[in-house]
Symmetry: C2
Subunit: 311 residues, 2 copies
Amino acid sequence: MLSAQSFAIIGSGALGAYYGARLVQGGHDVHFLLRSDYETWRAKGLQIESAAGNFSLAPKQLNAYRSPAEMPKCDCIIVALKSTDNHHFDSLIRPVLGPNTAILTLQNGLGNEQKLADLFGKERILGGVAFVCVNRVGPGLINHTSHGLIRLGEFLGGPSTRAQALASAFASSKVPCDATDDLTTVRWEKLIWNIPFNGLSTALNQTTDQILATPQGENLVRRIMVEVIAGGRACGATLDDNLIDINLDRTREMGAYRTSMYLDRQAGRELEIEAILRQPLEAAKERGVSVPAMQAVYEMTCMVDKQFLHK
Amino acid sequence: MLSAQSFAIIGSGALGAYYGARLVQGGHDVHFLLRSDYETWRAKGLQIESAAGNFSLAPKQLNAYRSPAEMPKCDCIIVALKSTDNHHFDSLIRPVLGPNTAILTLQNGLGNEQKLADLFGKERILGGVAFVCVNRVGPGLINHTSHGLIRLGEFLGGPSTRAQALASAFASSKVPCDATDDLTTVRWEKLIWNIPFNGLSTALNQTTDQILATPQGENLVRRIMVEVIAGGRACGATLDDNLIDINLDRTREMGAYRTSMYLDRQAGRELEIEAILRQPLEAAKERGVSVPAMQAVYEMTCMVDKQFLHK
């Protein structure tokens, strides 16, 4: 059993709050950076309604901060910001960085690790993909409906004792977690789903069952997935063709699911187009892969982005 | 000057009513098949508010019919049905067909002439493309805001005295009209605009200025136009690359224009996907042209079609 570790959670929205609270429960020393819920956490604590067991943390169990300057240096910084906030990396992360601090991003899409590496040094960086349904349903109230697996690995690839130690910290905190030697493959596996379903749901204002309700819709999803797989392979990911059928079957079981980007559009929030759509598209194009359907989905998502940010 | 001709207008919506009324004004013998406005026309006649001059026709100037069986055989049948009603061709047109009757379709998209040719013989068929903005704004009230040019020609191609005579009949009725030897080119010229703007406006619920508001939107429109031009050329059309810039410039001048298919979607009416999107797509694919952006636009339009008709 590894000894307890210290964590800084940068971005305590639903994802950061849920995983951070699990680590607290697991006996680790966790420090949360948060904005809107700070007063609620200080007054009433944090409640988690979870498919893996409800629990709550009292104010005295929560180390909550409004500014990173107040936070201690930690063994590991977990980045759980929305990727649209990546331009705040330097101001939010540098104050918490000790000489040996690792940085684990659990954010969506591609490019987050690279940006962190450019700022803080590539040897510090790990990435993780969270397969989880979790929402903030009110101040200090998180609803975790299903799944929860984290697959994490070194940005530079290969095995490491650090990745193993982090996986153990999660696993001993009721969070299933695998350390992978091949983060690239894990990232692209998730993109096979994220690119067609986040993109089309946002562009067309549709739930996942509506996207698959016509043969034309299924055909378009399949064509996008073929391109994502080709793009991922060109980037070094190991991806089997049967991931298409596996993803379609799972999605049909999800019913009228609203993707995160669809919910962001409905709420008038900024869209994670850069990490989920543009970076994978550019990565594929740079390697000479033909990706016209990915390109169209990227373009259409930009076209419906409320603020027309992508000029 | 050619002598007066007799016309049957099959489908007296905005387009059929406007052009038919102009032919009445030009001294021709015109017979209108119509449904919803029949009682209004019989009681109050037809009013045309037109950029080319307002006018009205009294009930006694209008030969209006609710059934084609009541109509006389005419020199020319003008088909102005929405292409989603093409399955009614046989029942609506055959009763009006004399031994030498020509059939001119002014409908949108591809495939209308072929379907008429299959039913009634290819030597009868002419096609025309109407460049016009005209709407039915109330019972017996048509609003013609701009343009009006018809370019018409033989389905089988080449020059004909019949096409010339029809062009003269229109031209002497305040309708600018060219006879063309090359209907294929004229059809595809219009598709260069119709495919991207009808398709994207319908899929994304956007006006034409919104479609062009981002560089990604303009880029997608351009990529679709490149594919339409390649498809048209493979089908024998003569299309210059500068049609892309010409169409984009004209569209920017149109402001917040609502395409016909967008209006159909808003009103919950059937969409002209078959003629405007699917037939050109299939024609290009059959000839080995790569049309992934056209394919995506076709698929997405099917995906938002309210009735999910395209299963």
